[in-house]
């Protein structure tokens, strides 16, 4: 009997909150991730949860979804206490969750992923058939179109996320939890997601939304709860609060959403790219004759919808992807194949996907902190590593970038997403390179950290370094860049000096509308 038969057994008792968490406590070994956390979510509303990295948001939601067990505390759904021992209980209670890291089987088709656990019968055929029908319905009902027979692994993140939502709805979820859903989405995709959420709310569903992007929170939520260091520190009605207030509640101090920076005084070209041509993993050409340069003392931002060649461009520049044609020069010198010479020439790279590339999860932090620079004589005494020196060096970087906990020997995987990101940035920026390539520098990072990271990037620029920034966050691009390049279909579709571009224009170019002729000389 699959859980889809046990759906909708929670008829809300009038007025009772859809979800109620009472004095939840959770330890991970010594880490007290949730301390007496209480939360109440009204039915038919969108409820936002914000907090710094490591504040305990994901943990709390994992507990609600039965993925972790609370050490203490009570959970009430629609007013009646429920024991959630595992996800099956959560599903039975009408809870669905879209995790920070998707819970999908890449080698399965969309349909297979959706029916997994709700197959409705011992044989697949009937269930699959029914699922197709229902998917079509849901698709039209909530604008959740996905190709049902595509392999999930081949889908862009945006669509993968829809699959996650479909999974939840297919199981008849009344309460939908989304953990940093927009972390990896392009603006358009994010907007689409919010349209979907509003519709769901319209249908009377209750939604809990975790995000670090306060603009989004203000835009879609009805109520906001703030967490800090495992505690629930405040609840606000969205209507009556401001970004500044929320930010301050989160970090415990004022934060500026916009870094101020004085006018650009660019110098010589530090990074120049000439007719670069690159192929993607499938062998299709994904960067077509791209030429541009980044000068000393400027930040160049590349805007674009995921999958238009920015990632491949970045990898090619970093030496992670073979160059089919064209030249790359760092400080006027042509770079060889591979990344090592480039590093020596002063090119640093903060990869988009830090979990896969930027860090080595099972390593101690100090070991991850020298990745790519392990040949540096500073880390050695004669031929051997001087771990004491490495530890000191790492500790220094951790302080500088406020990585928590600042323990060089902690296993990398045990840091929260945001802190992992800071570790990578620390490693690359602290070496003060000539040219810095950054991909999605603030993905999954809390605003406190965002502000901090932005400041560091600007500081580099002011110190006369060249920064090339790729981000799906339009306002990050617009806020930081001195020049903005828009990439579409593997080519540079347009170029704007800072400030002269409106979000709308950029959006259009990114979407491939309007022609090259707009691009400034």
């Amino acid at each position: 009997m699959s859980s889809s038969e046990k759906r909708r057994n929670t008829t809300p008792t009038a007025g009772a909150p859809a979800v109620e968490l009472l004095r939840i406590n959770k330890w991970f070994g010594a880490v007290h991730a949730n301390r007496d956390v209480s939360l109440s979510v009204a039915p038919g509303t969108i409820h936002g949860i914000v907090g710094e990295n490591g504040a305990g948001k994901s943990t709390l939601m994992s507990i609600l979804y039965g993925f972790h067990r609370a050490d203490r505390g009570e959970i009430r759904i629609a007013g009646r206490p429920v024991a959630i021992r595992g996800s099956e209980d959560a599903i039975a209670a009408g809870i669905g969750m879209v995790h920070q890291h998707f819970m999908l089987v890449d080698t399965f088709t969309v349909v297979e992923n959706v029916i997994l656990g709700a197959e409705g019968g011992r044989l697949l055929a009937p269930g699959t058939h029914r699922a197709r029908g229902e998917l079509a319905e849901l698709a039209s009902e909530y604008a959740l179109e996905v190709p049902p027979d595509a392999l999930v692994g081949d889908l862009p993140v945006g669509l993968q996320q829809r699959v996650e939502i479909l999974k939840a709805l297919y199981r008849g979820a009344e309460i939908l939890v989304l953990d940093e859903p927009t972390g990896t989405l392009a603006p358009q995709e994010a907007d689409h997601l919010f349209r979907i959420l509003r519709r769901l709310k319209g249908q009377g569903k209750t939604i809990v939304l975790i995000t670090h992007k306060l603009r989004e929170i203000m835009a879609v939520t009805d109520r906001i709860s703030v967490m800090r260091q495992g505690r629930m520190v405040a609840h606000r009605d969205t209507a009556t609060t401001t970004v500044a207030e929320i930010a301050e509640l989160m970090v415990g101090r004022r934060v500026l959403s916009q870094v101020e920076k004085e006018a650009v005084k660019p110098g010589r070209d530090l990074l120049s790219v000439e007719n670069l041509r690159v192929r993607d993993d499938r062998g299709l050409s994904s960067v077509r004759n791209v030429s541009f340069s980044v000068r000393a003392g400027e930040i160049v931002g590349i805007a674009g919808v995921a999958g238009n060649g920015q990632s491949e461009l970045m990898e090619a520049l970093a030496g992670l992807r073979p160059v089919v044609g064209g030249r790359i020069l760092v400080a006027g010198k042509p770079v060889g194949a591979g990344g090592r010479l480039r590093r020596r020439l002063g090119l640093a790279h903060v990869p988009e996907d830090r979990r896969r590339m930027g860090l080595v999860m099972p390593f101690q932090a100090r070991e991850s902190a020298i990745l790519g620079h392990h040949d540096d004589p500073r880390y050695r005494r004669a031929a051997l590593f001087d771990w004491a020196a490495v530890s000191r060096d790492t500790a220094g970087k951790m302080d500088a970038f406020d990585v928590r906990p600042a323990d060089p020997r902690r296993i990398t995987a045990a840091f929260s997403g945001g802190n992992q990101q800071k570790l990578v940035l620390a490693r690359e920026i602290e070496r003060d390179p000539l040219v810095l390539l950054v991909g999605q520098p603030t993905r999954g990072v809390d605003i406190g950290a965002i502000e901090f990271i932005h400041r560091r990037l600007v500081a580099m620029r002011d110190a006369g370094r060249a920064v090339l920034l790729i981000s799906a966050e339009l306002d990050e691009i617009m806020g930081l860049s001195d020049r903005i390049l828009v990439m579409f279909g593997g080519t540079i579709a347009g170029e704007f000096p800072a400030g002269r571009a409106t979000e709308r224009e950029l959006g259009l170019l990114m979407a491939g509308a309007a022609g090259r002729e707009r691009s400034a000389p």
């Binding site: 089987v105 890449d106 399965f108 997994l116």
Partner: protein
């Protein structure tokens, strides 16, 4: 001897040699597709072979033997599960430990019960799975071509051989057409996704190991009740590892795995025929080279034609919720 008959005879022994490999490989498939490395096929086969022979000796019925064989193998599979699933122990160590344990236990019990150095007594025909003659096989034997193929290849194998080859489509069907199969494949790729879908990984993997036990039990029984007439110490002689190799060779999929097993069987059968044969020009090939041939060819094929084998993503990773 004219070529077709020779071929027929080689293929004939190919079938006999690959049958146990196929059963064992399918057994491994269940376990590994669910994310549990099974290097213990060898031990499970050996245990099953012993249990089957013992039961058949006491009851005189091959069916009792089969039941006992499956029982023993399932028991071992569950121990493996207890170590690897319940206690998240190292799956390779567990498999090796069971292999060693079984080779010892079978000998100890064998000596205690039969006092023949761990061997079981020779079984009479009615206590074994004997070749089944198909209707009209005898008369057709002398019809060249079709007749030979029919009588040598199709007819005249024991029940277990036919079972082995029937098992392949069955397993494929379970794997790709049933709920259990879907969850099994998911468990091996991304256990979290299964857990978050409200299914207990633990229960699922135990069920997978049950299937492993059953298939391996049949493989072991085949050795002592069909292919030979008694249990002999360490009679698996490395077949468990070969089956594992075949499974990987077949990229953890039923039909390709079967083909790999057939390949091993065929190469082995050919090697048997090539011994002591003078090759034109070369003269007589040293027997050791002939014996090494199957393994060399396997490597060559693997390097030359079969590309990368990508294992189930979660294979060998103990499942931990608090990742």
């Amino acid at each position: 001897m004219e070529l077709l008959t020779l071929l027929a005879l080689v293929l004939d022994s190919t079938l006999r040699l690959s049958a146990p490999l196929i059963l064992a490989a399918l057994a491994g498939l269940f376990s590994e597709r669910s994310g549990i490395i099974d290097i213990g096929l060898e031990g499970k086969m050996l245990g099953a072979a012993f249990a089957a022979a013992t039961a058949a000796t006491f009851t005189g019925s091959p069916w009792a033997g089969l039941a006992a064989g499956i029982g023993a193998s399932v028991l071992l599979a569950l121990v493996h599960g207890y170590a690897c699933i319940t206690h998240r122990g190292n799956q390779v160590v567990s498999g090796l430990a069971l292999n060693i344990l079984v080779s010892g236990v079978t000998a100890v019990l064998g000596i205690a019960w039969f006092a023949q150095g761990g061997r079981t007594p020779q079984l009479p025909g009615e206590a074994r799975f004997l070749p089944l003659e198909w209707p009209g096989a005898a008369p057709l034997r002398d019809v060249p071509g079709v007749g030979t193929l029919y009588s040598e290849l199709l007819s005249g194998h024991n029940l277990m051989v036919y079972l082995a080859f029937l098992a392949v489509p069955t397993v494929a069907w379970v794997l790709y057409r049933t709920r259990f199969g879907l969850r099994l494949r998911a468990a091996g790729e991304n256990p979290q996704s299964v857990e978050t879908a409200g299914i207990s990984i633990i229960a699922l993997r135990y069920r997978a190991l049950l299937c492993t036990g059953v298939a391996c039990g049949m493989a072991g029984t085949y050795l002592s009740l069909a292919q030979s007439a008694s249990f002999i110490n360490d009679m698996t002689a490395g077949k468990g590892y070969i089956a594992l190799a075949a499974l990987i060779f077949g990229k953890w999929r039923p039909y390709p795995a079967m083909l790999a097993c057939l390949l091993f069987g065929f190469l082995d059968a050919t090697a048997i025929r090539l011994q002591g044969v003078d090759l034109p020009g070369v003269g007589e090939v040293p027997v050791q080279f002939v014996q090494a041939l199957p393994y060399v060819l396997t490597v060559v094929l693997l390097a030359g034609f079969i590309g990368r084998a990508i294992p189930p993503k979660a294979l060998g990773v103990p499942y931990v919720k608090e990742r």
